[in-house]
Symmetry: C2
Subunit: 173 residues, 2 copies
């Protein structure tokens, strides 16, 4: 059985969140998520960056924009996804990590201020430390803990890990 | 024995890296590092943000600027720190995590382009996945794996973890 992880990044602002939203997308892809959905401002450039990385580095990670987080939540719930909101106010992620593995998941990360309705309508409000830090960091730590390996089929570029320096292999097509 | 983790963030640019450098600092603090040092452009606002968070949320995490990464590296090596550069080209972090626990560590994260001399002069070049993603994410995953808990003495604010909603306790002084 294959499980799916979708990340929902709330309230993207083209200028202010340019890099943190890109980092959310790239880290999601690298750490085993299948898709990221952004609400907030539409940002074709952001989506193009993420598509371009998948084209070169492989896999089927996809990125999309949605107008309304409530619709996204409703739709994944219909498909019996478990919904998880990452927040410093939540319960320590270590406590529910095992329950979340091998499930279809929607992981929600906010930007500035997350509406109370998000807290109320998810299955888990989960904290990666109860300290203020970074949605990119929190998302990455949770994904790493879930241990779902990304499938990187069709990569044009592949790194051969090195103790010093860089080695990249190009796949001829 | 108490071990120290210092993060070195290379080549900070005030405008472009404003938020990612802040996220590096906050994630470092929340996930057990003791200090972050930035090279690149001097940024008093960034340092003040980090100091302010420690003031409110506790602990002795410190943030500083340095002109030259080479000097930082030399100085920690004199003090027998193990030096680790986070790069997608390195060896999977899972392979050396155990060796890095309970050691004094300097963890280096780059921004745009990292000089070859960094790769050559550290003890470990380490990858959190061999995929392009985010220095914030990579740093967070490595720190979480090192499992050093931050000491948060003197906090004015403390979160009481909640399944739904927010609960913050204020400590009277």
């Amino acid at each position: 059985m294959i499980f799916m992880i979708i990340v929902l990044r709330l309230d993207h602002r083209r200028e202010r969140d340019k890099r943190t939203s890109t980092h959310c997308g790239l880290a999601s892809r690298a750490l085993g998520a299948d898709k990221i959905i952004y609400t907030g401002e539409k940002d074709e450039k952001l989506l193009a960056t993420l598509r371009d990385v998948s084209k070169r580095w492989g896999g089927r990670f996809s990125a999309a924009h949605a107008d309304n987080w409530k619709k996204v939540l409703r739709s994944v719930k219909k498909n019996r996804f478990t919904t998880v909101h990452l927040t410093m106010y939540g319960i320590p992620y270590e406590r529910c990590l095992k329950k979340l593995r091998k499930k279809n998941l929607l992981l929600i990360v906010g930007s500035e201020k997350v509406p109370r309705a998000v807290y109320d309508n998810v299955d888990y409000n989960v904290a990666v430390t109860n300290q203020p830090h970074s949605e990119v960091a929190a998302l990455a730590v949770l994904l790493a803990g879930l241990k779902k390996k990304p499938v990187l089929a069709g990569a044009r570029l592949r790194i051969i890990p090195q103790a010093k320096g860089k080695k990249v292999m190009e796949t001829k097509k």
